[in-house]
Symmetry: C2
Subunit: 282 residues, 2 copies
DNA sequence: TCGAATTCCCGTAGGGTATACGAGAATTCA
DNA sequence: TGAATTCTCGTATACCCTACGGGAATTCGA
């Protein structure tokens, strides 16, 4: 009934694989090292080989192509051989995701970064957008319960440090960071998914809309949609879908950061603003 | 190679089904009406029967349970019978989605609504959140190229009218509405997906984190994560995951609307704000 | 009243997915 | 030179969507 994901239930093994390249000195023998002494047949691959091949295949031919069978064929081994390196496909996906999350070039602690906190957030935004554009399939992966690996943690640390440096309280920093990542990650993911759909269907978004021209002629009721009609008549709609998405991304991020900044600045003689509506919560 | 979705390529048929209950007087005979005169065997179901059953099954047992086979069994017919009503599963999903999108109780044109534009946006936010909570599977459906049906269009019209009424230009209204829906829809979707994962795995998010305690003891490097450490030591993290998500949702929405509001108000003697960083675009 | 036309019903078949199981091959150690 | 260990991978199972085509039901025209 409760279709449990296969990789679950072994969090120790999962963590060991995610952090395989960050061996702690105290950990002693790391059983996931590529080379090991002792009896037994030599492995022909490494975990990194499998992860890299998965990312490459997903980049070039889509996430569906990175199936266990397809991946095995790509690597020139039998399908079941992969299960020697990775206990389940779900976990392999976690490894691919954390690898990609860690690709972003974000200044670590002690490394040089802009003074302005907004410029720091901007770096996170641009690196994240670029990451999604490089790996469109990332838009198809759930961001809930992400891999708790070095890549994910480094990015989280960076964004928290940017907001903490802006002067937010520790509590607000955490809250604001969640809100900012929600916006940036979701918008960047949508942007990538949009492009992915264009690629896989071979149809641009504009062509898709054009195909639905019948909507306006046959079904659209002007009286029911006065705002849309007003905007249409005022030529308020972008002619290019991708441009509209990019514009709204900038606009939303700028307004969100404006709002956060306003909480920081004492504000020179500014009116006390009316409380935002709070009472609609269920 | 290019795995085309099956429902595509027939936009006319798609639109006719989406708008099946909004027959235009000019359209004459609507071939999708439940009852029709003329020869031929009588259908035992209607499209609405199939759509409703799909939504119910997905609500109760998850989106995967709403397969063509499972749905047919639920309705007491053969699997292939469903294809008499709906040309492809992809299109059935579109019908389910638009039905649910239209469930939101948003004031139409001419109907009473709050004067304050922020309160109007708040209604959209709460209705959307509630919709996702009623139908957790909606979080698993792509929002790219959504069904262009009455439900989707009504919600879009509502949000546009709220921002247009706030005094934004037509162009800015469209841009801002895209940004606001991106934030609200994504955050509400994430919230629902989080709860869905809890349900399907039978494990709360807090239990999931607890299972990964090893991370902090074995792999976490304090020197590499000073901001996280600071927040941790200041007890800045929420003890309850769901509470953290809800707090950040409120915070982000309030700041985003603050930012939009600041663009509207002339601002009494307010400093000219430095331009946000723009130069990082690729 | 009886074909003919029309429409709905649905079994079968085919190609895709992940992975449990277990036998076989390769390597090292005693 | 066994024995122990580890990697390799073919087979089988249980799902998914849907193209195809024959059969069943209903109405219309003569």
């Amino acid at each position: 009934m409760s279709e449990r994901r296969s990789g679950e239930g072994q969090p120790d093994k999962t963590l060991a694989l995610l952090w395989r390249n960050h061996s702690q000195p105290t950990a002693g023998d790391n059983p996931t090292d590529a080379r090991r002494r002792g009896a037994g047949r030599r492995p022909s691959l490494t975990v990194d080989d499998v992860v890299r091949a998965g990312i490459r295949l997903a980049d070039e031919q889509g996430l569906a192509a990175a199936s266990m069978g397809g991946l095995a064929k790509e690597l020139g081994v039998g399908t079941m051989t992969l299960y020697t390196y990775v206990p389940a496909k779900e976990l392999l996906l976690d490894l691919m995701v954390d690898q990609v999350l860690g690709e972003r070039e974000l200044p670590g602690p002690g490394e040089p970064r802009p003074d302005d906190w907004r410029a720091q957030v901007e770096i996170y935004s641009e690196q994240t957008r670029a990451m999604f554009q490089r790996h469109l399939w990332m838009s198809q992966v759930s961001a809930i319960r992400p891999p708790v690996g070095p890549g994910m943690l480094a990015a989280r640390e960076y964004l928290l440090s940017a907001l903490l440096g802006a002067g937010l309280s520790p509590r607000d920093t955490n809250t604001a960071a969640l809100a900012v990542t929600t916006y940036i990650d979701s918008a960047a993911s949508n942007e990538a998914e949009s492009r992915l759909v264009e690629r896989t269907t071979g149809q641009t978004n504009d062509a898709w809309w054009y195909e639905r021209n019948d909507l306006w002629e046959t079904y659209f009721d002007v009286d029911q949609h006065p705002a849309m009609t007003t905007i249409w008549n005022a030529k308020g709609y972008h002619s290019n879908t991708r441009e509209a998405v990019a514009d709204s991304y900038r606009y939303g991020l700028d307004r969100l950061l404006d709002g956060i900044q306003a909480m920081l600045d004492p504000g020179p003689g500014q009116d006390v603003r009316a409380d935002p509506v709070q009472g609609v919560a269920d």
